[in-house]
């Protein structure tokens, strides 16, 4: 049975909610449930002026919003959900996306009314526990990264990147330094150059060495008084640790610029090396990657940015300040506590619902557990790398262990067989594919990130499937083009979707 659109099964006369009818309530018969706990005001309980006070702006025409009863609604979304693959269904080895287990305790904690049912503008005296959560999480983030402080309000990783770059720009402006260029490695996430551009910078690429790391010599050669910052991902998007990170930072600092670290891969090293010790000035942390908040099919994210001593004065508003009497929330630009803040990036104080989840995760693992997390994540990736490198080309496999991701290329595939075919064939084996065609620096890249949450038995199953498909790809098995055959849909026509966009129901 195919599940129709809600527009096809619902109508504007059906609803899955009830509202008290004033008449019913006035009659008293419908008021039962309200006894003892508050009642809805009735029409005769106060003087209502005639008509409404909508200023003549009544929405008189139907706008065609379909409704369903509650049973139909539950069934519609339950059925839709069953067409999804998710980490709860199996391994989800998307390199650089980090699909790890989302503990259910976190969900429970986030729903405690003392967190979920607070308005962001309540008086500070009524939200001390919530501010305490922000402060406690901040303490962990700062401790784990060895930095001076953290800006908690960015709403996702890319927003955090923007925050970091704006902080850097504010710091440069404060010293009257109008540098115009940001250097980004070829292998960077697309967000890095996009962020730099949005912050008003010109973007230049830094080349990579043959072994997949930043070319220090080339970088040093390019550094100069026009360079505001270097954006580096470490571990990098090839799944390798930047061995010369400290030297890079030193060179950047010597040139008067700042080091921005893309923290997307912090989960590979948490508890084992502190970015602050490597000379990083700013780094965003994707709470969902390192600290297990749910992805939810594409968000919401949360991207706190840890900052060095040099950048802290320029951090955005608002922030929490601990005083003897409790916690204050510094929200105003003219507050004496924030004379140099670059300003506000969004309404309110950040992704509280993600903070509670991340804090519950961090406390559950503790300092010892988080260290084991990075260890197991790296162990799992190396296990996949070594068990597959005889049938799949591992471009940097010879240079040593990888970090939390195993990177393969399509070298060795028969003519006409592509990374895409291998990925779709994995679906038929019951697995979600790895990240395809990223990083761009490797041809037909396949970036496999198992995370620490997979058992050896699952990895062995996955490796067996991957090896068997790789053999077929090398042999030029034509049937790979037909995959997937066992999914809810066969391959979808993305070209058609873009050429003739249908972006809303038009029935």
């Amino acid at each position: 049975l195919e599940e129709p659109l809600v527009f096809e099964i619902g109508n504007t006369e059906t609803t899955g909610v009830d509202f008290p009818s004033p008449l019913t309530l006035a009659g008293g018969a419908g008021g039962g449930p309200d006894t003892g706990s508050g009642s809805t005001p009735t029409a005769d309980s106060s003087r209502v002026r005639e008509g409404n006070r909508l200023g003549g702006l009544d929405r008189s025409e139907s706008f065609g919003l379909p409704g369903l009863s509650e049973p139909e609604t539950v069934r519609h979304y339950t059925r839709l959900s069953r067409q999804n693959y998710a980490i709860d269904c199996g391994i989800f080895p998307l390199g650089s996306c980090t699909m790890k287990h989302n503990p259910r305790l976190n969900e429970k904690v986030a729903r405690m009314p003392g967190f979920s049912d607070l308005h962001p503008l309540q008086p500070e005296s009524t939200v001390q526990g919530a501010l305490g959560v922000i402060d406690e999480l901040a303490h962990w983030l700062v401790s784990l990264t060895g930095m001076a402080g953290v800006a908690m309000s960015p709403k996702a990783g890319a927003h955090g990147e923007l925050c970091g770059i704006l902080t850097i720009r504010a710091a440069l402006e404060a010293r009257g330094d109008a540098r115009q260029v940001i250097l980004v490695p070829e292998s960077a996430h697309g967000t890095n150059p996009a962020t730099a551009a949005f912050a008003g910078y010109a973007v230049e690429n830094i080349p990579a060495t043959a072994e997949g790391r930043v070319d220090l010599a080339a970088l040093e050669a390019r550094l100069g008084p026009d360079v505001a910052a270097v954006m580096i991902t470490n571990p990098n998007t090839c799944g390798l640790f930047e061995r010369e990170m400290k030297a890079i930072s030193d060179a950047v600092h010597a040139a008067g610029a700042f080091v921005y670290c893309d923290g997307a891969n912090f989960n590979a090293v948490v508890g084992r090396v502190r970015p602050g010790d490597l000379g990083v000035d700013a780094m965003h942390i994707n709470l969902h990657k390192t600290f297990s908040t749910p992805h939810g099919g594409g968000g919401p994210g949360s991207g706190p940015v840890v900052l060095s001593e040099a950048l802290m004065p320029f951090a955005p508003l608002p922030f929490v300040r601990k005083t003897d009497a409790g916690f204050d929330l510094i929200e105003e630009e003219d507050d004496a506590a924030a004379p140099q803040s670059f300003g506000r990036m969004a309404a309110f104080h950040g992704q509280m619902g993600m903070f509670t989840r991340a804090l519950a995760y961090i406390l559950s693992h503790g300092a010892d557990g988080l260290r084991q997390v990075s260890g197991d994540a790296v162990l799992n990736a190396n296990y996949i790398l070594r068990r597959c490198e005889d049938v799949l080309d591992a471009p940097f496999g010879a240079t040593g262990p990888c970090m939390h991701e195993a990177l393969f290329s399509d070298a060795g595939f028969a003519e006409g067989v592509a990374t895409l075919d291998l990925a779709k064939a994995l679906i038929d084996e019951g697995f979600h594919p790895m990240t395809m065609y990223f990083p761009l620096v490797v041809h037909g890249a396949m970036l496999v990130e198992p995370t620490e949450c997979e058992s050896k038995a699952t990895l062995d199953q996955f490796i067996m499937a991957l090896r068997s498909i790789a053999e077929r790809a090398r042999a030029g098995d034509e049937s790979l083009h037909q995959a997937p055959q066992l999914a809810p849909r066969r391959r979808l026509d993305e070209t058609l979707a873009a050429r003739r966009p249908v972006l809303a129901w038009e029935g």
Binding site: F7, F19, S45, E331, L363, S455
Partner: protein, 453 residues
């Protein structure tokens, strides 16, 4: 370590395959002097679920939850009753723990939901196309300004005085860095919106005018003439809706000619959550503007067998393809919040949304009348939806704190946003939703009277 499946036996066997003596050895690329060979000192070690839950519960109890007080706060975040089935459905593991639908064959659940969400938002806003959501209302507002800049090639934005002050700050901050001009003045306490005055300001430099509907003082106005003025000058009209429930009662911005309608979707399905995560809504009236839109879009297509299916589309606008030339640096949406919003909208339907809006407006009218009877208090608004401004004879910041001391969360003091001593700080914005009872209104009236006495 309950989240880690590997046993020590597994670890040993795997290290053997890898040919490494220890896990530490896998980190050989980290300089030895910077490698931490034991847990960071001064931080707690792992804890049982029970201990963590107890700790978090203790923190949660240090807050006054909205349900435990007469509650009248709005100003950009609204407390509505969320049906229990919404939270049940968003906790389905297949929704909760899925990633961005990059493999559409096994992500049709998320994709169809996004297509439905886009369609619902478009109809609510009176627009042709909506995107798959953004971070929140304030960032969606800024994205609308930059999009208007791309469409008109003009970098000046005129902001209504009734725009939410956090949205104004966000735009001012971003504009400073990205080189946009912002024309904005603080609000004056009049019953009418500034739409007419804004129309007079539109000129050949103007990329867009940004208005909020209802605005931060709860005022509402017809934006048709303003839209005409914008269009005549080659500018776009951007409308911001922070309370989407209002559109169950009020004419939509799209119907009145707004070109870009953005909003905060938190009021439906998402809940208060102390400010986040929320849900940015973004729609355009003219489908030709789609390729200048930021954010993800889900589109309909067919699979190899001709069956209808859905995919993320027009991604050449986005950062992972276009890098520094993208329409935005955003690489996520607010998927789970969009799901919650969409499920709530489906449960409501037009009938339910209209009933919900009518109930909000009815209660707000009752409350406005009752509170205006409190000595010293006057109601500013003539027209409003579920939120209105009270002018009080003192600084409302202290008033709000006093009321909180008595267990009443009585509204948002405008002095929090406009502490300039020009009179704006003597006003209180009161929101009244269906969650408010007759007893709550009486309690607020009595508490106001007591605090003002």
């Amino acid at each position: 370590m309950r989240y880690l499946p590997l046993t020590d036996t597994d670890r040993a066997a795997m290290l053997d395959v890898i040919g490494a003596p220890s896990i530490d050895a896998l980190f050989a690329d980290v300089p030895a002097d910077l490698y931490l060979d034991k847990p960071i000192e001064g931080l707690p070690l792992h804890a049982s679920e029970m201990a963590v839950e107890r700790h978090m519960r203790a923190l949660s109890k240090q807050n006054l939850a909205a349900a435990d007080a007469p509650f009248f706060l709005g100003a950009g975040a609204y407390r509505h009753h969320v049906p229990a089935s919404v939270d049940h459905l968003i906790q389905r593991g297949e929704f909760l723990t899925a990633y961005t639908p990059y493999q559409p064959e096994i992500a049709q659940g998320t994709l169809q939901m996004l297509f439905e969400f886009q369609s619902q938002v478009a109809r609510l806003f009176g627009c042709a196309v909506a995107n798959a959501s953004m971070y929140d209302g304030s960032t969606a507002c800024w994205e609308a300004i930059t999009m208007a800049g791309r469409v008109t090639k003009r970098r000046k934005a005129i902001l209504s005085c009734g725009l939410h002050p956090h949205y104004v700050s966000t735009a001012q901050t971003m504009a400073r860095f990205e080189g946009h001009g912002i024309d904005y003045a603080l609000p004056t306490l009049t019953a009418e919106t500034d739409f007419a005055a804004l129309a007079d300001k539109v000129d050949g430099e103007t990329g867009c005018v940004v208005v909020q509907y209802p605005d931060i003082l709860g005022r509402i106005g017809d934006m048709t003439a303003l839209a005409d003025a914008c269009h005549a000058a080659g500018a776009l009209l951007v409308a911001v809706v922070t309370e989407p429930v209002a559109l169950g009662a009020l004419k939509s911005p799209g119907e009145m000619g707004a070109d870009i309608v953005v909003g905060e979707g938190q009021a439906l399905g998402v809940g208060l959550q102390f400010g986040g995560p929320y849900l940015g809504l973004f729609a355009v009236r003219d489908p030709r503007h789609v390729r200048q839109m930021p954010g993800r879009l889900c589109g309909e297509t067919v699979d190899a067998e001709g069956k209808r299916g859905f995919v993320l589309t027009l991604s050449t606008r986005e950062q992972h393809i276009r890098r520094e030339k993208a329409t935005s640096n955003i690489c996520t949406n607010a998927g789970l919040c969009a799901l919650a919003f969409s499920v709530h909208m489906t449960l409501l339907g037009e009938k339910g949304l209209r009933a919900l809006a009518a109930e909000n407006h009815r209660l707000a009218c009752l409350a406005a009348d009752r509170l205006a009877q409190v000595p010293g208090v006057t109601a500013l608004n003539e027209a409003f939806f579920n939120e209105f401004t009270l002018v009080v004879p003192c600084d409302a910041r202290q008033l709000v704190r006093d009321m909180a001391g008595k267990g009443v969360l009585g509204g948002v003091s405008l002095g929090k946003f406009y502490p300039d001593g020009q009179g704006r700080e003597n006003s209180l914005v009161v929101a009244v939703t269906e969650t408010v009872t007759a007893e709550d209104i009486e309690c607020l009236a009595a508490t106001l009277q007591e605090c003002l006495a």
